[in-house]
């Protein structure tokens, strides 16, 4: 990871010096072990604060949305697909963005880190594919691959698909199967079981909206949850409203979601909201052979049509 960090700093510094970009969006070290903070580097000196490791869980494409300047952006595979989506959806122009592509080997899951540590993490170090956490009680080390976020475990595009200046050589893609066991398990449930499952899944939600605010797709000027005329959804903690929010949000992401996992990483209640978006991602692939964000010139599946689209639902 040290290589990545050094390369990102060098590339960013050069880009800023040359004036090719006005700013670089990346990560700096956070104030807590195991957390990095999205950071806007404006000068070559700022670029020296940029870092990269396995604790860069948010999706930096989220920070591109309203920018008017020339932006360099550090992007892992999923972030790069959201940059494509942004370009397709005209949130930003291709000319405005310089992608510093990071071949990604996955991000650690905050809950798995917590479980490994078994207490307050005082320091976290990463070397040679191992993560070591120190607590007041002692040190624990584990393979990074055993600590990955769920979305990283089944990642199919670890290398950026849009990549102006690679920060490192590509990493091998490790997954060949699209199987999504978690979704298939839910599909196999009876309707009643499924109802109970989602009821329990969403029961802790406080409607803090960290999931949608961490999501690069959620850029609507007024989200449907904030509309008052008509008011689509109540604002209290009625389970009907909580379910409505999560389900509708997932549908808004259908065919656009890159399974970056930022929603789950952001959720303070550790709700597995990808179990909703994952089903839609799966359907989009099965029905339309569509994977979100792979190019910057094709509209998302539900935003366009072809004469080959399945149409057996038309009776």
């Amino acid at each position: 990871m040290i290589n990545y960090t050094e390369n990102i700093r060098k590339i960013s510094s050069d880009l800023l010096k040359s004036g090719k970009v006005d700013v670089v969006i990346g990560y700096k070290s956070g104030t807590l072990p195991g957390v990095n903070e999205p950071f806007l580097a404006k000068t070559p000196e700022d670029a020296d604060k940029l870092v990269w490791d396995s604790q860069c869980r948010l999706n930096l494409a989220n920070y591109l949305t309203h920018r008017k300047d020339k932006v360099g952006i550090v992007a892992k595979g999923c972030d790069s697909r959201n940059i494509n989506t942004h370009i397709v959806e005209r949130r930003i122009s291709r000319e405005q963005v310089t992608v510093i592509g990071v071949p990604c080997t996955g991000m650690t899951d905050k809950t798995r880190l917590k479980e490994l540590a078994g207490g307050d993490i005082l320091t976290l170090t990463e070397a040679g594919g191992k993560i070591t956490v120190k607590t007041a009680k002692g040190e624990k080390t584990a393979d990074k691959n055993d600590l990955l976020q769920d979305n990283c475990i089944r990642c199919l595009h670890r290398n950026p698909v849009i990549n102006d200046i690679p920060a490192a050589d590509p990493v091998p893609e490790v997954n060949t199967t699209r199987n999504n066991d978690a979704i298939e398990k839910i599909e196999a449930m009876s309707a009643d079981e499924r109802w109970a499952f989602f009821d329990d899944l969403l029961s802790g939600c406080t409607r803090c909206y960290a999931c949608k605010n961490a999501c690069p797709l959620c850029y609507c000027p007024t989200c449907f949850v904030d509309e008052s005329r008509p008011q689509w959804v109540g604002k209290g903690d009625d389970p009907v409203d909580v379910r409505t929010y999560h389900t509708l949000r997932a549908f808004h992401c259908a065919g656009r979601c890159t399974d970056c996992g930022a929603c789950e990483a952001a959720c303070p209640m550790n709700i597995k909201v990808r179990l909703l978006t994952g089903k839609l991602e799966k359907s989009c692939y099965e029905r339309f052979g569509w994977e979100a964000g792979m190019t910057s010139d094709v509209r998302p599946a539900l935003d366009t049509f072809t004469t080959h689209d399945p149409e057996e639902f038309i009776k």
Partner: protein, 346 residues
């Protein structure tokens, strides 16, 4: 006031006895974390965690609370007339609340009883509670409570301070108020601790306070003007990572802002009070479409200006933060109040 020594057996018996008179509330395991819940008969509070994920503020300021009910049925003689919702406030004992969290609820009370108006929903719930707090012997690395006018052994918001006494599940219970005394009587605690107990508790307090390495300072913020702090040029940088979700405001024990909403079910309806967050654009959006806090950084600035300056200036009781560290730990973007306080205090 008295200090009792409670051994494990008396503790279990005492809680059961006090449950005859009080509704007991305490931290329990909720999925992968802790939350304050009304305890079932015979259920013991789980005191193994340091902080509950959400603060205990929901006990006095629920996430969503019915304030009034109404009918919009034109045939109802009371059509369109708001009725105060019928509520009961049973006597409650909250077991195992952390001292800084109890202090936080006192801060909330300053807002909900502002001299001119009293919020009956908050105050009735608050007054019904006897706070049986548990001192923090091993503070977390994100605990900075001692910088915030409270601490791991702070007695201000409590009626009883429990201190884990070292032996197997034993407690010292320091009675701090008449309310606390009444609860201890209901529990039947009577064995007074030895004469050296005050010294022992003081020593434990000192150890706990010294274990806190995380500190903040706001002495310079106090002296600066509101406009100087507000107009400082760092805010856009400071707030860059913030995604303006409500995680910090909902986890925070001192964030008191709320929304009022009507909900209809046919011709019946309720007016409810919901947690709200200054992080959202809707919070301040005018009917005209104008928004005084249109930009994301302005909302982040509001939160910290409120906590570290407006509140301090208005009440003269320190900052609107007890240093529990929940927002620091839960923020998805690593917005850290300690760091922002340092920037403001330069």
């Amino acid at each position: 006031m008295k200090i009792y020594h409670i051994d494990r057996e008396s503790w279990v018996k005492g809680l059961a006895a006090s449950a005859e008179v009080y509704q007991l509330v305490g931290p329990v395991r909720e999925k992968d974390d802790f939350d304050f819940k009304v305890l079932d008969k015979g259920q013991m509070p789980d005191l193994t965690g340091t902080d509950t994920r959400l603060s205990p503020k929901a006990l006095v300021f629920p996430k969503s609370e019915i304030m009034m009910t109404f009918s919009t049925d034109p045939n109802d003689p009371d059509c369109n007339i708001m009725k105060e919702a019928k509520k009961e406030y049973p006597k409650r004992a909250v077991i195992g609340i952390r001292p800084y969290d109890a202090r936080a609820l006192q801060i909330l009370k300053m807002n909900y009883d502002n001299g001119d108006y009293q919020d009956p929903y908050f105050l009735n719930a608050y007054e019904a509670i006897t706070f049986v707090g548990l001192a923090v012997n091993s503070p977390s690395s994100t605990d900075f409570s001692t910088s915030c006018g409270t601490g791991p052994f702070d007695e201000k918001g409590l009626d009883v301070l429990l201190v884990a006494a070292g032996e197997e599940g034993d407690f010292y219970a320091k009675i701090l108020t008449d309310k606390g005394d009444a609860w201890a009587k209901a529990a039947g605690f009577s064995k007074e601790a030895g004469s050296d107990v005050s010294t022992r508790i003081e020593a434990m307090k000192k150890t706990a306070e010294e274990a806190i390495s995380s500190k903040i300072a706001f002495d310079k913020i106090e002296k600066k003007t509101v406009l100087e702090l507000f107009e400082a040029d760092h805010w856009e940088n400071t707030a860059f990572a913030c995604i303006n979700c409500g995680t910090c405001t909902y986890a925070c024990p001192t964030c008191w802002c709320f929304d009022i909403q009507d909900e209809n079910f046919g011709t019946k309806g309720v007016r409810i009070k919901n947690w709200d967050s200054c992080m959202t654009g809707l919070f301040t959006l005018h009917g005209s479409g104008h928004n005084p806090r249109e930009h994301r950084y302005q909302r982040t600035r509001q939160r910290f200006m409120h906590k570290l300056k407006y509140f301090a200036d208005k009440y003269g009781e320190g900052i609107m933060c007890v240093g529990c560290g929940r927002c620091v730990r839960q923020c998805p973007a690593n917005i850290d109040i300690r760091e922002i306080c340092e920037t403001m205090n330069k």
